[in-house]
Amino acid sequence: MTAQPLLDVQDLTVEFTTRRGIVKAVQHVNISVAKGETLAIVGESGSGKSVTSYAVMRILDRAGKIAEGSVMFSGIDVKAATEDQMRDLRGREVSMIFQNPRAALNPIRKVGDQIEDVLRTHVQQAQVADHGEKAIEALEQVKIARPRERYHAYPFELSGGMCQRVVIALALACNPQLLIADEPTTGLDVTTQKAVMDLIVELTKRRAMSTILITHDLGLAAAYCDRVVVMEKGRVVETATAADIFANPQHPYTKKLMRATPRLGVSLRDLLPEEESRAAMAGLDPAIHHTSQDPSQLTDPRVKPGRDENPKPLLLVDKLVKEYPRQGATAVLGKLFGRKPPVEPDMFRAVDGISFAIGHGESVGLVGESGCGKSTTSMMVMRLLDQTSGLIQFDGEDIGGIQPAAFARLPQRSRIQMVFQDPTDSLNPRFTAARAIADPIMQLGDIRGRDALRARCEELATMVGLPHNLLDRFPHQLSGGQKARVGIARAIALHPKLVILDEPTAALDVSVQAVVLNLLQDLKARLGMSYLFVSHDLNVVRLLCDRVIVMRTGRIVEEGSSEQVLGDPKDDYTKELLTAIPHPPLPIH
């Protein structure tokens, strides 16, 4: 490490002026980054990690300002610099990669032009003969195939991973000294994540650049960074080298974060903070208030009650196919606008003849990357979508023949329920929590009368560990974890036999995820439900599911018990998925 750091943040406090007064998003933060160093800032939502980086770039919202402290970047005082000086710095000396690459690019401008805009701003015409050629070169460096063609592509024509490569090209086009990557791979598939992260590391190392990686994923931080800064509620709680922090975390918050991260060799209970975990082991989970729970069931969360009593599976799916027509108009207009004609056949098979079964009380993980057909499959099982062909049998009845529109009014509807991915978007913003939970009961249940309905809502709230005083709040007044609980309470309100969980924890912080996963596990044991758990996160699937189905391009590539598939994968694709997950160097006990 050199004596003078490239970036030196001292005692930084950032304030936001809101309607309810001044909020300090970041307080007294000290961070320094040496030349060529890769630093991770780790924290959950609201920890101030992004705000810190925006303050470094001075691109805070109008309401935010650096209240105290100093930010020095290679001898320049960022706090005191004029806007013109800052503009010269941004993109040329410090640049940034954002979460959600598709949104980070101008949707109606060719990607090549967007890279050129940056080049034109920072590189003098005299130095570079042709900005266009330089932009193509930048695309080449991020390993985009056929960069000359891609130059003319619009963001919507590229995949998420490809868009992120373009954003990286944009950020690195002017050879900056510092790259700030704000959750660069959140929302990308694991294999894409690996490719993107490897690319960032390779490019920055080759240019001897410094990098700040902002992430909520400890595994990612450990795998790619030299040093880790842990932030909680606007403060830095711990700074250490990556190896040290995993071997010997000092701060209780760091320890809690590490415990909560799903990883190899731990059970679901291990994710909870120690005291809660012990309580849960003893059948006294404080979050759930079990009344008549057999503690022996809780010691092993993988017990499948009643699974062998009924040899017939709860759900049987046979040779399920879903085809979508390719859009005719796209082809015609594509030709008119000089685009490549599609070479694929006219029908696109999203789900290509898959068969599987779910037993009573069993939880099955459906795993695959985006576009593999896992969501389409769950939608067909839910009867929200009609299949092209194939059989869906639920509890001995053929439900595959029922039209999705008619299914909503049938009694079977109440027996298959769903928990959705986004806890916020899946709740009506004008419904209180109680109204949201009561909704399915009012549609299909047999509880009538205000008081009875309220009592049932309260009972469900107790089951999912939602305090009763929150029942009259609207979704925007609840936290992410609380909203997830409302979604779960709504799904179990009608005593379903099968619950489809569509990435129920993907939008949650790890510590909240740990609690929600445990809740799901307890509810399953208590109510004897079966789960179809749709996810891209193999570590989570490993913890919650008895069996795993791995899907790729509409087909099942591997199926078996969780231990077997994830511990000793047979298929190359499963292996690829598993190796792409970044692991913390040492498991914590």
Partner: protein, 337 residues
């Protein structure tokens, strides 16, 4: 592109047929008997019957309709009963007057509203933002006939700055030879600057009236849309890349913000065509709006039908232009077709 335009025009055919049927039925359902109207108050029953027969109004409705449709197919909109002129000729003569007024009004309002909205969005809370808010609120709360009358009262009656609100040209000037039908352009072609000035001074007040009316929705939409786009992630990316504020606002924010503004623009244009009727009345403008109102009052079917049909065709064309504009601005629309 041509296929798309062709397809869009094909889609317009059923709606035009619908318009023909509905206007025909509506005019027949209107209260008032044209035969009695034309016979005059002193006419005998026999005389009214005779006129009714002459107009073909004694025939069954379906026969009347087919005769009407057949005439339309031959480009014959029928004759006005009050003036005796063919409706097609009248509309052809009067449409440019209305179009000139509407387009100028829209142009003025766009020229003011869009910069106002953009400035208000880039400086929220500043005086220009408040100005934008006040203007838009005033604009929507004032009905056109009221603004029109106030403008005439102040600028003609009180201040005497503008000429009498009596048509498209001062009485001392003769109309320029018709090329486009727009006096502003035709006078320039004829190099008659005096007439140009006269035409312009006649246009200013009614065009301002329309502009005040249409300013509000455009400015408001521009502001809202700019605010949304300025808060978006790609604008943050552009700012984080150090692009100049001008590039960020024009290339990144404004072009994206234009999409909803264009939709609003097409809606405003439709409103203006409607608002025209009142403005033309107030300013004695010889447009198709006042023509249609006079015909309606006298239960004169043919001009009303001709007017509604002309408007329908203009809406179809307008929507087509909007769709093409969308395709030009937003590459995503092109693929969705």
């Amino acid at each position: 592109m041509l296929t798309m335009i062709g397809k869009r025009l094909m889609f317009a055919v059923p709606s035009l047929i619908g318009v023909v049927i509905v206007t025909f039925l509506l005019t027949r359902a209107l209260p008032g008997d044209p035969a009695a109207y034309f016979a005059g108050p002193a006419a005998t029953k026999e005389a009214v019957e005779q006129i009714r027969k002459k107009l073909g109004l004694d025939k069954p409705l379906i026969e009347q309709f087919f005769r009407y449709a057949n005439d339309l197919a031959h480009g014959d909109f029928g004759n006005s009963l009050t003036t005796g002129q063919p409706v097609a000729t009248e509309i052809r003569n009067r449409l440019p007057a209305s179009a000139e007024l509407t387009l100028l009004g829209l142009f003025v309002s766009v020229a003011i509203a869009i910069p106002l909205g953009v400035l208000a969005a880039t400086r929220p809370g500043s005086w220009i933002d408040h100005l934008c808010r006040v203007t838009t609120t005033a604009g929507v709360s004032l009905p056109v006939f009221f603004t029109g009358l106030v403008l005439v009262y102040v600028f003609y009656f009180r201040l005497g700055w503008s000429p009498a609100p009596l048509g498209r040209l001062d009485v001392f000037y003769s109309a320029p030879p018709t090329v486009t039908g727009f006096y502003l352009i035709d006078t320039l072609i004829a190099r008659d600057l005096e007439a140009f000035r006269s035409a312009l001074s006649q246009l200013i007040l009614p065009a301002t009236t329309l502009a005040i009316f249409s300013l509000a929705p455009i400015a408001r939409m521009t502001r809202a849309s700019m605010l949304a786009v300025l808060a978006s992630e790609f604008v943050r990316t552009a700012r984080a890349s150090g692009l100049s504020p001008a590039t960020v606002i024009v290339t990144y924010a404004f072009r994206n913000a234009m999409l909803p503004v264009i939709t609003t623009l097409s809606m405003v244009f439709s409103f203006l065509l409607g608002a025209n009727v009142l403005v033309e009345k107030v300013f004695a403008w010889p447009g198709i709006g006042s023509y249609a109102v006079e015909a309606l009052i006298s239960s004169d079917f043919a001009p009303v039908q001709g007017f509604v049909l002309t408007m329908a065709v203009m809406y179809v064309l307008l929507n087509l232009i909007i769709d093409i504009l969308y395709g030009v601005i937003d590459p995503r629309v092109r693929l969705e077709g």
